[in-house]
Symmetry: C2
Subunit: 413 residues, 2 copies
């Protein structure tokens, strides 16, 4: 079964926000065996909404829209849907009471704009939004489903999980989609592809292989769409095992787990602890670990030692080492990792120090030069990586490379 | 002038990655006065690429595609474009030499897959990709422009900046788009809308107002499209000033600067310094500041004090306060802010401690409870905020609220 996702809002088209809603919606649909064939972002424009929805309905049995449901004039999705489906807007008393209660709790007056949030097209099924004032709406139209959800990511997410997915599962007999992902590290995409080419060429037509390169890792994803019956499910497992057996030395994990998730599980299972000292990555490594539920079991502390004083005072880095070798050096990276490991009383520590730019580069140490170190019970290792030329990219890559180095050391301990 | 953006890749449709490419492309086009009317994401599927490109070409003078240019079998964009434009693939010697050199530097062998990167459709203009192996391609087709760029964000970004935008500016006489954004804080979206309603209703038709609510801030964006001549540019300034004058007490900034950018500029200009102590936000506040070029001028250090020991050992929080009031408490938040301010010798410090969940909540302190504090030369303030029920949302909101509190204190000092 096919679906289309439409996100509505001028702020998407001018690049003011990143659309994460369609990512989450695609994940939900995919995990239930619904193939997302297209995602479209359009502006708060009546004609475009009408045309895009009509086109999507011709190609997909399910269309999910988000956005354009706010109380203000620029939001026109609800009005447009009511017109398209020939129904008038009527007040829903449950939503009205909910909106009034929510606003009272926040000390916001219940004015005509907020009251309009409780009006929905007659004939649609209201999807109750416990976390916000704009309700979701479920329309059935000539055997197809149109769902309109608010654009606030958190509200949309709850409505997808609590309302939309259970209803879709009850309404349709869904076939499953199976994805199996292998995470590799240490072999470039093209060399990996050359190595597995004969196997890839011989894959049955219902299996699709995708390469997903990331800094420090290449993922290989094997997908079977619209799987029915046991035989296909067995075949994907058989092919996945054949793939794994071709490159065992490069396999570092499975599924879509990120390298930090692999470390998260390994540390949790082993009851070991982690500390982080960051200069150029500025808290990115710490935030990647602490974003995962349960990180407090092993994450002791992070120090963002941006200034030289922070390096010496908080981590015990030798001021003389900074003077002699510079803050971006093997010696300082090692001392940062060892320092934070000692201060935190942690089993493992990872550290970064580099030049994120745009200023601060020299001929010898150009922008993008990053030293990273991992201290563990086995001792300390340090590596220098060139992480690019763009500040955001350098921070992101340096964090990824440092986390990959940590995983490597973790596997040896 | 209109443009469409097409991002190609199954990984987008199954929700495996967040599409940031189209955001960046939209920003580039928008700033040059090109209106993005639609963004579409489709899979690595020949028929869909052909149909979507044909449809986009009917509506837009410029179509930018990204993705599907890798060396592996799942990437078919280049082949499909060559077929659509009736040209064969020919080897580009400059690209070929570049790819070979790049791979040699990385110790990757130059095999037939990599060699295929140097093949481009005859008749297209090659856009040299200094940062990767897949070149960009520029096609002219019946007076319309089709540009195909690699999907690696960093490579795409450089090609947009260095190659695509200069060529578009040279090729077309572009009208400008003017956006003016006012950042407000302290008044809910609906109350703001009620307050400015008469003004909004009287806006001339070529000016469009949008509400962009965020945790801790609502942005009001006034846009004029396809502006020609001085009068429109003057009118948007006049209306923007009228808007500002209606709500002066809620205006905290201008343009699309985030609150952390406002603080960044204020601290840099005043020569004052900042330190951060984070528990539940886990490095997110530090990473938001350090993501900005020049942050090292004021950012002293951050401490991610996840464990109680880190709070006491690194920040000098009184263990007795943790025992009596709990780690998530006003007392601990205050001591964290004061501690990191003292340790770092900084002028300002911000701290967070809360329950990010999903576990750890109690009746008295449910998941989402976050205490935040700001220590400054004027003393310390602390606030408790309920930041939601979802871990990612709680981290994000708590960081935003804490940064908003910092801005408030900064303005008083």
């Amino acid at each position: 079964m096919n679906a289309s996702v439409i996100t509505i809002g001028d702020e998407i088209l001018i690049g003011q926000i990143v659309d994460t809603n369609s990512v989450s919606i695609a994940r939900h649909l995919n995990s239930a065996g619904i193939v997302v064939r297209e995602k479209v972002s359009i502006g708060d424009d009546r004609e475009q909404i009408v045309a895009t929805l009509a086109r999507s309905l011709a190609a997909s049995q399910v269309v999910i829209l988000t956005g354009g449901l706010g109380p203000t004039k620029d939001d026109i999705t609800k009005k447009t849907l009511a017109e398209m489906f020939g129904s008038e807007l009527v007040c829903d008393p449950v939503v009205s009471a909910h909106v009034e209660r929510m606003l009272a709790a926040r000390g916001i007056e219940f004015n005509s704009l907020n009251r309009s949030q409780a009006f929905v097209p007659a004939g649609c099924t209201v999807l109750f939004n416990a976390h916000g004032t704009a309700p979701g709406m479920w329309f059935e139209h000539e055997g197809r489903i149109v769902v309109s959800l608010p654009g606030v990511p958190f509200e949309m997410e709850h409505l997808m999980h609590d309302e939309v997915m259970p209803r879709l599962k009850a309404r349709f007999a869904l076939k499953s989609i199976v994805h199996r992902t292998l995470i590799t590290s240490g072999l470039a995409e093209s060399m990996l592809a050359a190595r597995i080419e004969p196997w890839e060429n011989a894959l049955p037509s219902y299996l699709k292989l995708a390469y997903l390169p990331n800094p420090g890792a290449v993922r290989l994803r094997l997908s079977a769409y619209e799987v029915e019956g046991e035989s296909v499910a067995c075949e994907i497992e058989r092919q996945f095992e054949a793939l794994r057996a071709m490159i065992p030395e490069y396999v570092v994990g499975y599924e879509t787990a990120s390298v930090q998730e692999l470390i998260h599980h390994a540390l949790t299972a082993a009851g070991r602890t982690l500390a982080v000292a960051e200069s150029c990555t500025g808290g990115t490594i710490a935030s990647r670990f602490t974003a995962m539920p349960g990180a407090s079991a092993y994450f002791r502390c992070g120090v963002v030692s941006y200034s030289n004083e922070a390096k010496t005072d908080l981590l015990g880095v030798d001021p003389d080492a900074i003077r002699r070798f510079g803050a971006v050096s093997e010696q300082v990276a090692r001392q940062m990792a060892e320092g934070v490991r000692r201060v935190a009383g942690a089993d493992f520590a990872v550290a970064t120090t580099g030049i994120a730019g745009p200023a601060g580069g020299t001929d010898e140490k150009p922008v993008g030069t990053v030293w990273m170190a991992v201290a563990s019970p086995r001792g300390t290792v340090a590596v220098c990586r060139q992480c690019g030329t763009d500040r955001g990219q350098i921070i992101d890559r340096a964090a990824s490379f440092a986390i990959a180095l940590l995983r490597e050391e973790l596997s040896k301990n």
